[in-house]
């Protein structure tokens, strides 16, 4: 193989990408997603961890209280974001339907030290954003009340759990785990998947448009053509992943070990690209190749995620800076797998090239 030939092909493909302005779409896409980022943050974090939405509300909510007198009233009194109103149950529920109160609790007259549990009925408005917030706030009150009741009934317990004293953390910071543990690996890996789809397009197009013959009439061999295309796709991976990291950084999300992350993404991305190239060489037709590749991608991803110390996990660990030099070992392993696949591609391409010039 001649490196200059490979370079030539890679340059041609990248020039093709930029002249077709397809790369513009890729950039637009990133900007578009970044524009939605605030919405994404709120929406997706809430999907991941519903309790985080509590932080968005600075409003006080009104809660209707019906039923018997209980220590729960004092628990509510401790909160300044919930105002409790003693009401008749029917009246309270009518007020809830009209959204004059945000929730209604009904407390039975079970004494705190009874044999039976205290069964509180909590009425909320069905499937509603506000109910979500109120739910979290009332949950905290009820948990405190549960603690209080547990203490009253403590002499009936036989096991004692290990005691831990937590510092006062002052509210949840639950963006962190979502952003670093889910969003960053997904965003950073997106370019690798896009590039793998791209190699299929590039290879099948030569077959379906019958442009291969013209290309092969030059001194460039088939294997060099394939490797040139692979190189063009591979270059895009760190570029786009790096753009994500910069966008994240601009959004106030600093990512540690950016260089190492880019190395990991580029290596794993190359595995995907080589897989895509293999599928494309086999089918030589876009619909079949893309279909098989996307199905295979799902299989590969589920498998990889189930393996400890997988590249996605390493990106998470690197991003939060909690891994030592161990990740280099995994990188070396992935690189070895890439080399193996690369060898397979070379042999396969060579054979294909011999058969049909």
């Amino acid at each position: 193989m001649n490196r200059r030939h490979i370079n030539l092909i890679a340059k041609k493909e990248i020039a093709g990408l930029s002249s077709e302005k397809t790369i513009v779409f890729a950039i637009l896409l990133q900007v578009f997603i970044a524009m939605f980022s605030s919405f994404l943050m709120v929406g997706l974090t809430a999907m991941y961890d519903p309790e985080s939405i509590e932080g968005y509300s600075t409003v006080t909510y009104r809660v209707g209280y019906a039923g018997a007198e209980s220590p729960l009233i004092d628990q509510f009194a401790k909160r300044d974001d919930l105002i409790l109103y003693r009401m008749d149950l029917g009246e309270a529920l009518a007020a809830l339907r009209e959204r004059m109160v945000s929730a209604v609790v009904y407390v039975p007259d079970t004494p705190p030290d009874a044999e039976d549990p205290v069964t509180v009925t909590l009425y909320l408005i069905q499937n509603d954003l506000q109910s979500g917030v109120v739910n979290v706030k009332i949950k905290e009150v009820l948990q405190d009340y549960e603690e209080q009741l547990r203490e009253i009934r403590a002499d009936r317990l036989i096991y004692s759990p290990v005691e831990l004293n937590f510092p006062d953390s002052g509210g949840g910071e639950s963006f962190f785990e979502f952003v670093y543990g889910l969003l960053i690996p997904l965003l950073v890996f997106l370019p690798a998947i896009v590039s793998a789809a791209l190699i299929i397009d590039l290879i099948t197009e030569e077959y379906q448009r019958q442009t291969l013959e013209t290309l092969l009439s030059t001194p460039i061999t088939f294997t060099e053509v394939i490797w040139g295309k692979i190189a063009a796709c591979e270059v895009l991976v760190p570029l786009q992943a790096g753009a994500w990291l910069i966008l994240l950084w601009l959004n106030g999300i600093p990512v540690n070990n950016a260089m190492a992350i880019l190395l990991h993404v580029s290596t794993s991305g190359l595995v995907l690209i080589l897989l895509g190239a293999l599928v494309a060489l086999h089918y030589r037709e876009r619909t079949s190749a893309q279909f098989i590749f996307s199905t295979a991608l799902v299989v590969v991803f589920i498998f990889v995620m189930a393996v400890p110390y997988n590249p996605l996990n390493l990106i998470v660990r690197l991003a939060v800076d909690s891994i030592g030099p161990t990740h280099w070992l995994v990188l070396a392993l992935v690189a070895a797998a890439t080399a193996l696949l690369g060898w397979a591609i070379t042999v396969y391409a060579h054979r294909v090239g011999e058969k049909s010039p």
């Binding site: 929406g43 809830l96 039976d116 949950k139 290990v162 197009e205 400890p308 996990n313």
Partner: protein, 601 residues
Amino acid sequence: MSLLSSIRTIAIWEIKRSMSTMGKGILPLAVVLLLLLVLVTAFAAESGLHLQDGMYRIGVDDPDTARIVASDTRFVTYLDDGASLRENRFSYDIVIINGEVYAVDTDKGRAALNTLERDYESYVASVAAAEPDLFAAYPLWIDLQYVKSEIDFLATQSGQQVGAPVETKRPPTPSLPVEEVTPPSQGKLTTEEELREHLIESGDGQPLKRYTSLISGESTTDRLLTPSELSPPLPFDTIILVFVFIFPLYFTSQFFMMSVMNERVGRAGEALLSAPVRQAAIVVGKALPYFTIMILIAAAITLFARAPLTILLPLIPVILFFLANALIIGMTSRSFKELSFVSIFFSTIATSYLFFPTVFANTHVISIVSPLTLVVLAIQGDGFTAMEYLYSTALFFATSIILFYVGIANFREEHLFSERRLTSRVVDFISTGISRNHPHVSLFLLAAFMIPFVFMAEMLTLVLFFNIPMPLSLLLLTLTAAVIEEFAKSIGLYAIARDWPGFLTVKNLLIGATVTGLGFLVGEKLLLFATLAQITESIFGSILFLSLQALWMPLLLHIAGVLITGGFLLLGGRRAYAPGIVAAGIVHSLYNLYFIGGVLL
């Protein structure tokens, strides 16, 4: 041949052809992959997902404490004596010495602390669940009841905060008559054994578990809960179903896109085009198998999720919309890679348009913009009215039909096999729509047909700016709406300037601008009165559709806008198009802002 029988012929031919190109090579490998998928899923279920392994480092001085986090792979645990832990405390995110928890004061430290607190909670719960006296360990149980709110959201429509409080000491008195309610019975609703059993089951708090159980139709509301089991009833829950429906449909539409593209590659479709059938029959016939498959897939998912079959109704326009866009993208892309990128781009935008409004499914009237809101409503068991169906699907039906029409009209050799750029091909398509004999009638119709697309784009901006603070969001909305409208109105003139420059005289520009403005206004009013009356009631709507009040003012505005852009085109040629749109957009915004000023002040 009649149209119907030729559609049938084409459809059968399409199925046969895709079977022959796909069938032989794909089936064996697809079966293998499916088997692998089952195996891999089983492996993943066995081994767990290792995405967030080792995010936090925790130093512990006691093996019993270490056991609390042992099952949580997010922690890497280091066991050491107290003194050396204290010394090296900065290499850990959390240290626990003698039962005292210390966390580093960073985002990461706080996140680790949060996770630890949750683990500790579930540890305490697991200890308590083993207590012989369950009701001493769990003295409090919650019976969660949902109430449907009967009023609609006039407050949120005008952009107010949800549930704004009124500080009073007196309890609120409902305005509607109060029904007598019997207090809930205090008999044990469930036996102690059952409660204990579900405590053990729900021990592991996987964040994604509630979504998987949602699809399998498990419900948590029919039994008693402990306080820590209360999880918010977010509208986001049903969103997961949206993904379950949309992705398979989108995936299938890709095959149609590819089939259209394949006709163009190497002029393969020449034989088809020379067949004695109308273009409409070719396009509809080709689309029909995919439409049927998509309906079948949607129905299968519906049955699997045990959801009501009525949710297929709002999915039909979505399917049509996907197919129509697949047709246009397949017809305009120059190469496979362009096809990929454009379709990824389109899918992101379409998904956001479908997805984001649904977040407000129960809180804001805006949500009805997306047909998927109807799906959510139907799954909740609330159903939807024919009027709501019309509101949320009209734009999808209208755009799909127009796109199909454009596709059919341009499904001709000179357009299918041309090698021009994407944007210029789109202009080609528009140019086809402008008749040389009746250019003014064409401009009028074109402007009217642009309306559904303009509305869709404006709706998207509305969703986009939804959570930006109020005055800024209004300003942005006004600006983008103006630019979108000016662009839509002038695209016909642009096509003329490119393909028929001789037409562009001062006189023709004046007439053209007038008919365009008129067409735009007519289309706008028709669609508005037919469908969007509900949205126009909100303050956001009044900005987008400000021009409802008096008719001659907006007409003048629309004409002026086209004249400005047209003037730029006339004087500066096509290069002046972009500055022209900006200039027209500014004039348009100023007009709108003046009116909002009048409305608000």
